[in-house]
């Protein structure tokens, strides 16, 4: 099996699906000849031509708006938003149109658009190249939200997204785009949307993480183990619909839970996880569920490492929950 990083895995999925299905088109800023500012679409322009790998004018509302029209007519567009931070000019098209099209038309007009966008901090990007906007989309009925943390999941999930019929926000962890490497099957495979993966088994506390934070959770779990604490790590992979069963199974087993996310704390997805867990498994909880998150500030530049969750902070929360 070849080794790939996340960028390569994404590109591999796109190429594979574009070969298999002529209806798939890629569009966005700089995705054509240049192959995307992160090079995720590199080579696609040469292989599939400018009609299917489209450099658009600079307008996210246009990228998503036209992608919707393409999907209605019968294409399977996979627009790229250059940074998650630049998705907001398209917000109306996403939350009022894309998410609601099937519903508002009584099922007449499904709208299978897969929006790819890099998210998260840690690349010295300041507030406009670092945000993690998942909450906004999870809170929008009609969208699926997928957030892989490694190359294998990225390829299998992206292929799955391009083959189902609902709109998806596919968030890619840009900090580890190249750093995260792993074996990825050359051929075709899909991972089920909506299934978390237990990336490490443990007995004392459950760590819930996704996207760029899974590596922080893993790192923490290792340090915890060294300190004699057994940690189970669950990589959610899909945030909407999230895998409540896997989460509950783990939390019921460990009785303790810490959630890690980069987005600001207040109304972050961590809050929903806490709410959903306590509603269903309060009697199993030995301590409050803790959150290690970004702060309720815009994402800073000079102090980004102070802002982002790190193993130290996660370990602190684990100890707190154990000592509660």
């Amino acid at each position: 099996m070849p080794t790939m990083n996340i960028i390569e895995a994404v590109r591999d999925a796109l190429r594979m699906q574009m070969r298999a299905d002529k209806r798939v088109v890629v569009l966005g800023e700089d995705v054509g000849k240049f192959g995307g500012v992160f090079r995720a679409t590199s080579g696609l322009f040469d292989e599939f031509g400018g009609e299917r790998v489209i450099d658009t004018p600079l307008a996210e509302a246009g990228i998503i708006g036209t992608a919707i029209g393409m999907a209605l007519y019968g294409l399977r567009p996979v627009p790229e938003i250059q940074f998650g931070d630049f998705i907001f000019p398209a917000f109306d098209q996403i939350v009022n149109e894309l998410a609601k099209f099937r519903y508002r038309s009584g099922g007449q007009y499904p709208c299978p658009v897969v929006i790819r966008t890099p998210v998260g901090g840690g690349i010295r990007g300041g507030h406009y190249h670092s945000q993690s906007p998942e909450t906004l989309f999870i809170h929008t009925p009609g969208l699926k939200v997928v957030a892989p943390s490694n190359p294998y999941d990225a390829k299998g999930l992206l292929l799955a997204c391009m083959r189902q019929n609902d709109p998806v926000l596919f968030m890619e962890p840009k900090r580890i785009y190249r750093a995260s490497k792993g074996e990825v099957p050359e051929g075709d495979y899909v991972l089920e949307i909506g299934k978390a993966s237990v990336t490490r088994e443990g007995s004392q506390v459950t760590l819930l993480a996704w996207s760029g934070m899974v590596s922080i959770a893993d790192e923490t779990a290792k340090q915890a183990e060294a300190a004699g604490i057994s940690v189970e790590v669950v990589d959610l992979r899909t945030l909407m619909p999230f895998d409540i069963d896997t989460i509950l199974t783990s939390v019921k087993k460990t009785g303790r839970c810490v959630i890690v996310h980069e987005a600001p704390r207040t109304c972050g997805f961590g809050a929903e996880l806490i709410a959903s867990i306590q509603e269903r498994a309060m009697e199993y909880l030995e301590a409050p569920i803790m959150r290690v998150t970004g702060f309720d500030t815009p994402f800073p530049y000079s102090l980004e490492h102070e802002y982002m969750p790190n193993p130290d902070r996660v370990l602190g929360a684990i100890r707190q929950t154990l000592e509660w």
Partner: protein, 376 residues
Amino acid sequence: MVAISQYGAPGEPDDLRRVLDDDGKPLPGVKVPSIPEATLTRIFEVMLLTRIMDDRMMRLQRQGRLGFYMKSIGEEASHFAVAPLRNGDWIFPSYREQGAWFWRGYTVQNFIDQLFGNEDDPIKGRQMPVHHSANWLNLVSISSPVGTQIPQAVGAAYAAKVMGKDDVSMVYFGEGTSSTGEFHVGMNFAGVWKAPCVFICRNNGWAISVPSTTQTAAKTFASKAVGYGMPGIRVDGNDLLAVWQVASEAIERARAGEGPTLIEALTYRVQGHSSSDDPSVYRDPKEPEIWEKKDPLNRLRGYLRHKGMWNEARETELSAQYNQEITDALAASDGKHAPPIESIFDDVYEELPWNLREQREYLMAQARSKNPHHHG
């Protein structure tokens, strides 16, 4: 009043395409488009139906039997830019082109079921009245947020091109909507892509209470086409023959791969914005009076009669027939239920995820406990 001078009374600017005068007589020296008689009379019939429907529904609304309605009285000719389209072509409407729906074959019953959001509503009672959707007619679901349909229409047009089809997209919006960012990005993408798309800006002078002079400082809405490298045409939107003519040309250009066109159809919103509106608060009642003299139905009727294609008897009979159809459809609708409660959860996704399954069970249990006879 500010708005009047811009709307052609008394002296329209030269660049306004017209065929008929206010009485329905062809203007001297203007070529009358050749439209088959059956087509032309059919257009008039659908215009008549539209007018009757608007009237009936508004009265129903005033009686408190319908929640909300939006009329298009005085703007009906502009709906028939869709008439020269083929059935395979796609239409992205705004909320004020009833005629386009009936033209394509949307039935009186469809229309009324949607207004009442009942179990036979094609969209299952999901949206407010006048937000139709008919995928079997290539008429795209209407949205309330204005302008969103514009880039969508461009995307569909582009898709047709990529898929090797020669379908055209036509998209409607009001002049107020030309102020949105969506208008700009849609027009701009269309220009760059040379998308087979026809943009119809229904300039009816008002966006709720805001006159068109507050929407732009440009001389005309058609002139905005310059910024997108496409032709901009201004047409008398109350003149069916002129609308047909400029629409046909734009559709042909699009189909031939020559790119998009912006058409400004100059018309007037003779009545309130919607059933919730009261225009007397913000505009001079003399303004609509001027425009009533340019009524699109009268003008086409005049032309047809003059050509011997129409007469009063036929209109009386047809009006009675339409009125009866509406009465029947209302009666049928009266007997219909609301959509089933559990349908609230359908179509959010192709399949119900666990959270919606759980929420459905909860709601159905609640419904059963309140009404033990309900079988959800």
